[in-house]
Symmetry: C2
Subunit: 330 residues, 2 copies
């Protein structure tokens, strides 16, 4: 727990620095339903983990963290525009205890705000005053990450209509959907610090594994503490095939299986609180939450193994981050 | 008319070359509801005007048009992803006589397909084997163009709820929404050919003016021939404040004004064919279609004036393009 407090303290401290920077990159001109949408999205809180990972990776690879600040903020724009479009695609009404962008500004503006921010990402990098070669590498990185994330998102939406899924598919999607864009700020920090390709590859491996661990923990939190969406069990409401769903489906009776799938496949608006609780009860009956917890630990261990090739300080820092991710729901 | 035939012949000839190239950039891996969506969008026809403008501009600035091919295709990806998101935002069900992407693949996938293609644009440019300096300039161009287009789109959506609008606002929005991304392939072609900043600036001026002319002609076609959406008057259905709307509102009685605004502001689904025809009749009563036609000619003249600083062959080619745009509805 000491490690976690240490990580959290540093994260909290960097938050102020990062938020001061964010202000510098907010739109200068006022356009109703666009600049206010970007401000609302960028200033709606969040832990600012990605920018922190970026500047710390750069610093721990013996470079000036200031050089990494623009890219760190670009990662936060990236994170937020993806959330804006995701919330539309998933029909989520609340995030961080506030209305989502589409709920507040309407669907047409929300798509457009996301598109604008997706291109702000590139603008921030282009204006970052780094060497041209590094700018091109960072742009390539963003393109790769977004394309993997889009593929992951497609696969996840497709999965809602498929009844036979195995764990490998879940892991593959989590790596694409969550892993790449966790790795992105770290790899970016490494590129800015001029680190070797080997270090970048280790960070990608780490990011993919920690991404899966994060996703599983997120799924558990959605079911227990809730994710700032005003209720628990949003994933069930959305019909998501979480690891708990897959595990329970494997263990339960055919009658129970039918019950779960019927609830998951109901249109979102028709799902009642009782439906959510019924599914949760089956998760508990088959120890699926416990199973998911164990699996998240397994991916955290894999993540830590990927740290071997990294300089000791950076490895130590990311071990602390791994523990922080895993302990979020304790 | 001879000039127009000439332009069209060349356009038709280049179409085959461009479409062969497009095939090379389609997704290699199959992911249901993603790669098929991109293929559907990219192969659904269209005149391929933007790629043609790009390679011809490059060629007429004394460079090898082959060098411009990747960027030309990137412009077609850009054009198509913007249409995909636009069709969602406008609620359009048909385009080029086929279902729009959101209607065919569903809203979540449609947003995601657009996001993927927006990043394909950058990937194509990154892989274009041009000098790094030119690649960076082309990326900057795309970012600038998309941001202007997003602003234009926001302003246009905002306008639907505003009753007092003047022509200047319409022109400003058309320049942002249509002008920049008409200028984009031409400026890109000029960058690739290594042309001066002055030439690039003239092309931007030309693009903005021809963009306004194009937009007005498009609005007229929507009302007369239809735009491949299975009906005429889609703009009225969407409540768009076209130049015809602005002109009629300025000329008509207060009773007629109320009638027009009531129809425009009705929810899309509640608008009947009779509503569309009633508005069209008022346009005719006040010669607003004729007025719009005159205005489009005015912007075509302005566009031609912007060609003065260009090499004679390129200027001549773009004069032909201007006539082609203006004569589309004759």
């Amino acid at each position: 727990m000491k490690q976690m407090n240490n990580f959290e303290k540093k994260l909290e401290k960097s938050k102020k620095l990062i938020e001061r920077q964010i202000y510098r990159y907010l739109p200068k001109t006022r356009i109703a339903n666009l600049s206010d949408g970007i401000r609302y999205s960028m200033l709606s809180g969040g832990k600012r983990i990605r920018p922190f990972l970026c500047i710390e990776t750069c610093r721990l690879l013996n470079s000036d963290q200031k050089k990494a600040l623009p890219f760190a903020i670009a990662c936060e724009f990236l994170h937020n525009w993806i959330l804006i479009h995701d919330d539309i695609e998933d029909g989520d009404v609340k995030r961080r205890n506030k209305f989502t962008i589409w709920k507040k500004f309407g669907l047409p503006h929300a798509i457009n705000i996301g598109d604008m921010m997706a291109h702000d990402v590139f603008e921030i990098i282009l204006n970052s005053k780094l060497e041209e070669e590094k700018i091109l590498k960072l742009i390539k990185l963003i393109v790769k990450v977004v394309k993997e994330t889009c593929e992951g998102q497609t696969l996840e939406i497709n999965l809602r209509k498929i009844r036979r899924i195995d764990e490998n598919q879940y892991v593959k999607i989590a790596k694409k959907k969550t892993g790449y864009y966790f790795a992105c700020p770290m790899i970016g920090g490494a590129i800015i610090a001029g680190a070797s390709k080997d270090i970048q590859d280790s960070l990608l491996q780490y990011g993919k594994n920690i991404g899966v661990a994060f996703q599983i923990v997120d799924d558990i939190i959605d079911l227990t503490l809730g994710k700032g969406r005003g209720e628990i069990g949003c994933d069930i409401r959305e019909g998501k095939k979480t690891l708990m769903v897959l595990h329970t489906l494997k263990k339960c009776s055919s009658l129970e299986k039918k019950k779960i799938l019927t609830i998951l496949e109901k249109p979102r608006d028709e799902k009642k609180v009782g439906d959510i609780l019924a599914v949760k009860k089956l998760f508990e009956k088959y120890n699926s939450i416990e199973y998911a917890h164990k699996k998240s630990m397994e991916f955290a261990r894999k993540a830590k193994k990927s740290l071997k090739g990294l300089p000791i300080n950076l490895g130590h820092f990311l071990e602390g981050f791994t523990d922080y991710i895993i302990q979020r729901y304790e």
